[in-house]
Amino acid sequence: MAVSSRLRWSGDCLLLQYALRRLLWLVPTVLAVVSVAFFMVRLAPGGPFDQEQTLPPAVKANLDRAYGLDQPVGVQYERYLWALAHGDLGPSLSDRDFTVNQLLAIGLPVSLALGGMALLLTLIVGVPVGVGAALWPGGRFDRMVGALALVAIAIPTYVVAPVLALGFGVYLRWLPVGGWEPGRWSDAILPVVSLALPSLAAVTRLVRASVLEALHLPHVRTAHAKGLHPVTVIWRHVLPPAVSPVLSALGPTAAALLTGSLVVETLFGLPGMGRFLVQGALNRDYTLVLGKVIVYAVLVMGLNGLVDVLQVALDPKLRQGLKR
């Protein structure tokens, strides 16, 4: 795509200003999400230390005091925000030897690597296949892709992942069933494929629909009429307008992939951060839940902002709107 040349062109200060303004908006939005999540986890009855065998009241009181849980909720909220402003997410209340920062430092790189590879796979396969299906609508390839996409969207990860592990890991013994060692690529194949399948199918369908629409735009007919090579027409005139809806959908998809999947990580025994939300909520590990919610919110909003900036950079009409 002509992305890079256009980005170079739009290195003007208007776009930069727009990007910075989007970045600044991140702060109040994340603050709002943190506040809602902070009070919501505390709404649930029970506390972080209820699951130990019944503690003597004195011990429990000491534990509560050590973690500041004996304070009124308002004071806890203030302290949490103060620590957060210094980049400290607090001690984990269920993995008691770790702070949330340490847990994230272990889990986040794994989830980011897995999600990044899944995202790459989604784009590398999804976009060309979607374009191919749109070029000959109703053809054999299109119908095959449509059926496969329906299957991939309808079948959940917790069916696909174990069946793939059973087939390729247990029976064929081509790939390891689980485990994670840095540098061993074969470990990543099954998790990445099972993680990528649903979003791959969704992106393929989306690309097909928007390319199909773009093919009927008047300027595409003109491009054909003036005798441009069909490949050039698709590359220069069909793909740019078709990219916009795909980009908008990609923000949330990427955030979901990058923050880790509970099912995939549990199944393949990967030390990612997918389990943090459920584990944290079940154990009333308030700080762990908040840590994941913050990472997720920052990723979602950051990626959505990035997508919006890219849209503006790509679309001349939106660029015009910026000047006004």
């Binding site: 999400v33 809602v36 919501m40 709404l43 649930a44 009855p45 029970g46 329906l150 299957v151 969207i153 309808a154 079948i155 959940p156 917790y158 069916v159 174990p162 069946v163 592990a165 059973l166 247990v170 509970l262 099912v263 199944l267 939300l277 459920v278 909520a281 079940l282 839940v289 919610v293 997720y296």
Partner: protein, 270 residues
């Protein structure tokens, strides 16, 4: 047009599954929770009439899958009816009243949307305990959101049509207008969306049960059967493959029915 109006294969597939769920118990002598001490973790066998094999405790997988399918279908159906009816009422009211009420009602929908639903469901389990009732409520509390949005958009569209304006000018009472003219016109897309919603709800239920938050042992649902199958797939692969096949069957054929209905009545629900 003749081709399109033919009943597709997917309708027959789902009908067959529903019939099996109703009468399938006739062909087995095992109950879902009976232990067969002599045959634990046994592969499918005709000799002992364990058609799909047994699990580690010697419970018959055919009977458990049957019970699981019934529960999954039943929960999705009840939660589907709950979310469709609540979402329709909510959406019609918001769209019909309009103005500030509408804005606030839809803002509430947006807020519930923004919360991670697993988190929401866990909070519900803690407050209401784990049982089928909680599951209905938890699943329906997520399912109604999209219904409300679709119905509201449809209501706004219908309300701008000339015949509604005419009825209003003729002095029809608002409730008669709503009942006689607006509701019949928004119901078709709702029904089509409902056929697409049911497989989503089945997936949601099985996901929650897979995580151990839904149907609890010893009761069976497709979700917790799958989760057991995953743990024991290396020595008892049938425990994974049979529930997987059933779930795929249900979800794929229901989704195909929904897409067919959408194309047949050319409704473009979200």
């Amino acid at each position: 047009m003749r081709r399109a109006s033919r009943v597709p294969l997917s309708v027959w597939l789902i009908a067959a599954l529903v019939v099996w769920a109703c009468v399938g118990a006739v062909v087995t002598r095992w109950a879902p929770e009976t232990l067969d001490w002599g045959h634990m973790a046994m592969s499918p066998s005709w000799r002992y009439s364990h058609w799909f094999g047994t699990d580690r405790l010697g419970r018959d997988l055919y009977a458990r899958c049957l019970a699981g399918t019934r529960i999954s279908l039943g929960i999705a159906l009840v939660a589907g009816v709950l979310s469709v009816s609540f979402g329709t009422v909510y959406g019609v009211l918001a769209g019909f009243v309009g103005g500030r009420v509408d804005a606030w009602m839809m803002r509430c929908v947006d807020v519930v949307y923004a919360l991670p639903y697993v988190f929401f469901v866990i909070l519900l389990t803690v407050v209401a305990g784990r049982g089928p009732m909680m599951l209905f409520v938890a699943i329906a509390s997520i399912g109604w959101l999209t219904v409300a949005q679709i119905v509201r958009a449809e209501t706004r569209r219908v309300c701008q049509q000339p015949f509604v304006e005419a009825a209003r000018v003729l002095g029809l009472a608002p409730h008669t207008l709503l009942w006689r003219h607006v509701l019949p016109n928004v119901i078709a897309p709702v029904l089509v969306y409902a056929t697409l919603l049911i497989p989503q709800l089945i997936l949601l239920e099985s996901f929650l049960s897979f995580l151990g938050l839904g149907i609890q042992e010893p009761a069976a649902s497709l979700g917790n059967l799958l989760s057991q199958g995953t743990q024991e797939m290396e020595y008892a692969p049938w425990m994974l493959l049979v529930p997987s096949a059933l779930l795929v069957w249900v979800v794929l054929s229901l989704t195909a029915v929904g897409e067919w209905a959408r194309a047949r009545w050319s409704v473009y629900a979200a």
